[in-house]
């Protein structure tokens, strides 16, 4: 099968859905002529023109909120927020308008809106361009949250998100854009809300998403050589949460390690741990372990940045400590 990069998989998903459905359009900062800060929308402006690939002013609240207005009146917008760090400016639109409108109006409206954004550390950009804020969004009922780790998932899940009649926050990772993976030529969709068991194992379940999932796979590979059998699950969608896949795995391995780049305090691992306790307490042989980002703003210094987020070695260490 051909291999393409993560950014390309996203680009293809956008292009295919725009070709298929004239209601789909893109707007955001520097998405048209520039092709996106991380070049994800490159070529789309040339292909679809000014009306459907729109550069906006630097106005995050209006970008996200206008996405809602267009979505509830017959369009299927994909809006881009260049860095997830800038979502703070648009949070009222997301929390009070987008997430609630259908429920508040008795289910009489649909919100087919995708908010594509990008997060994570790794480029020493400091505190305003390195965050992992998914827990902000998972906390809000009424929004689906997708965080793919591979080109294959990125494409299939984005196509599904665009066809969804509900708001989806779709979060890419800046350190994944150039990673490559197999993606079929022929069309496919992936279901939102389904975790993916990447590797079977029996001693411990290692759960993650986005870039950290790749660290987990490497950690599992090394642990395997050291005699530890690790089951690795890529959550892919955080909301709605595929708790069944997690619980089924824990029933088999009896141990759970959750790794993510976001801050530990109030991070999504805490929610998963609570649900696993509620649903599978008797199956656990050890407390659920979290390997997460340090609870500090991301420092600029490259050594401190590395220290602030999980990596293969810290994940391995946590797994081993859980097993003794």
């Amino acid at each position: 099968m051909r291999e393409i990069a993560y950014w390309q998989a996203i680009n293809e998903a956008l292009s295919e859905e725009m070709t298929k459905d004239p209601g789909v359009f893109i707007m955001g900062e520097d998405v048209a002529i520039y092709g996106g800060a991380y070049a994800v929308t490159r070529g789309l402006h040339a292909k679809f023109g000014d009306e459907r690939v729109r550069d906006t002013a630097i106005s995050e609240a209006a970008i996200v909120g206008a996405g809602l207005g267009a979505a509830i009146t017959g369009m299927r917008p994909v809006v881009e927020i260049m860095y997830v760090d800038f979502m703070g400016i648009a949070m009222d639109q997301l929390n009070n308008q987008i997430a609630k409108i259908r429920y508040m109006f008795g289910g009489k409206t649909k919100v087919p809106l995708v908010i594509r954004t990008e997060g994570g550390a790794g480029r020493t950009l400091g505190a305003h361009h390195s965050q992992s804020l998914e827990a902000w969004f998972t906390h809000i009922p009424g929004i689906k949250v997708v965080m793919p780790s591979t080109p294959y998932d990125a494409k299939g899940l984005l196509k599904a998100a665009i066809r969804e009649d509900n708001p989806v926050v779709y979060i890419e990772h800046k350190m994944l854009y150039n990673t490559k993976g197999q993606v079929p030529e022929e069309e496919y969709l992936l279901p939102i809300g389904k975790a993916d068991v990447k590797k079977q194992g029996k001693d411990v379940t290692l759960l993650s998403w986005s870039l950290t999932l790749l660290h987990c796979l490497k950690a599992a590979e090394e642990l395997e050589k050291e005699g530890v059998s690790v089951e690795v699950i890529d959550l892919r969608t955080l909301a709605p949460l595929d708790i069944d896949t997690i619980v089924n795995s824990v029933k088999k391995t009896h141990r759970l390690v959750i790794a993510h780049e976001a801050w530990k305090t109030g991070g999504f691992a805490g929610e998963i741990a609570a649900q696993v306790m509620e649903k599978a307490f008797d199956y656990l042989d050890a407390p659920v372990c979290r390997v997460c980002g340090a609870d500090v703003p991301m420092p600029k210094a490259p050594n401190l940045e590395k220290l602030a987020i999980p990596n293969k070695d810290t994940i391995k260490k946590a797994v081993k400590e859980l097993l003794v």
Binding site: E29, D55, F86, L125, P299, K300, L307
Partner: protein, 321 residues
């Protein structure tokens, strides 16, 4: 325009502009060699704005800066060594290596900080203005923003607050024609940005931002008025950034002709030619100053490169007072 009378002042303005230019050229080098990591939004081409505006201030005045903040930090009196070290994320940096280019600030100079968020300094500047009013001092706050930032909601909220309460805040709008790749024409319903001050009841003027004295004169007049209790104002400075928005920017959104036009309006060249023509400086003075600054920048670079990274324990310090 006020004539420049003394050589010392001329040298000071020229030196500051040269420091910014050479500092930025050096950062570009360091990025290309991967000695500097991450991004940097360079101020080259816009030097006259920061230097002219800061020339109207006292050391105890405040500024809020932007993502393109190196020039502001230098012009407000930040030390080159510490600024360079900060950009490399070193322990000797003015923010101990925790801020970096996007959060560059020597806060001891009254610089309330560069900002990774476009428009991030706007409300802060209003608050600094309010604090001046409540503390009954005659300080002022200069709020630097780009043309792009005038389209943020917080721009309008902040200007309304400052306009209503008549706070001593002066907005320095650096109109370099683009917010990243999007031209003012494509991003703003009003392209004469000075008009954006009108609904908030503050005077505004547009100046040629490549002329350090024009910037200084305009800002000085408003600073004087604000110190006297007459409230806020805006100075729109027409200027241009020489480099791309970031290192990877192929600059397809602007033309070679436009870049050439602005290269001819170089603020350092314009000012040094003027000083020589008026007999304030000799060509030799200018060349010597250039050499002097080159040495300063070399020294700062060496200091930064030779400095250690922060200790690992620094990860958890400084979160709370």
């Amino acid at each position: 325009m006020s004539p420049l009378k003394d050589k010392g002042t001329a040298i000071f303005y020229l030196q500051k502009m040269m420091e910014i230019r050479q500092f930025e050229d050096k950062i570009m080098d360091l990025l290309a060699q991967n000695i500097a990591e991450g991004g940097s939004h360079l101020y080259a081409g816009e030097e006259a704005v920061a230097v002219g505006a800061m020339a109207a201030l006292r050391p105890d005045d405040f500024i809020t800066s932007t993502h393109r903040g190196h020039g502001h930090a230098i012009a407000k009196g930040g030390k080159l060594n510490e600024l360079m070290a900060e950009i490399l994320g070193k322990a000797t940096g003015c923010c101990k290596g925790k801020g970096g280019s996007l959060h560059l600030a020597d806060v001891s100079t009254g610089n309330l900080g560069a900002n990774g968020i476009v428009g991030g300094g706007l409300a802060m500047a209003a608050g600094a203005g309010l604090s001046i009013k409540l503390r009954k001092t005659d300080q002022v706050t200069l709020c630097f923003i780009g043309d792009g930032a005038t389209n943020q909601g917080v721009f309008h909220e902040s200007l309304n607050m400052v306009g209503t309460w008549r706070l001593p805040v002066i907005y320095i709008v650096e109109n370099n024609l683009y917010g990243m790749s999007v031209s003012v024409k494509r991003a703003s319903a009003v392209t004469d940005l000075a008009k954006k001050a009108v609904p908030y009841n503050m005077p505004a003027v547009t100046v040629f931002g490549q002329d350090v004295l024009a910037v200084k004169d305009a800002v000085e007049a408003y600073v004087k008025s604000a110190r006297a209790g007459n409230g806020p104002a805006m100075v729109v400075c027409d200027t241009y950034r020489y480099y791309g928005h970031s290192r990877s920017d192929p600059r397809v959104y602007r033309t070679k002709e436009e870049e050439k036009y602005w290269a001819e309006q170089d603020p350092i060249k314009l000012f040094s030619v003027k000083c020589v023509k008026e007999g304030l400086l000799s060509q030799k003075d200018v060349e010597e100053l250039d050499k002097f600054v080159e040495n300063e920048i070399e020294e700062a670079t060496k200091f930064a490169i030779d400095s250690p990274l922060p200790n690992d324990a620094e990860l958890f310090t400084d979160l709370f007072a």
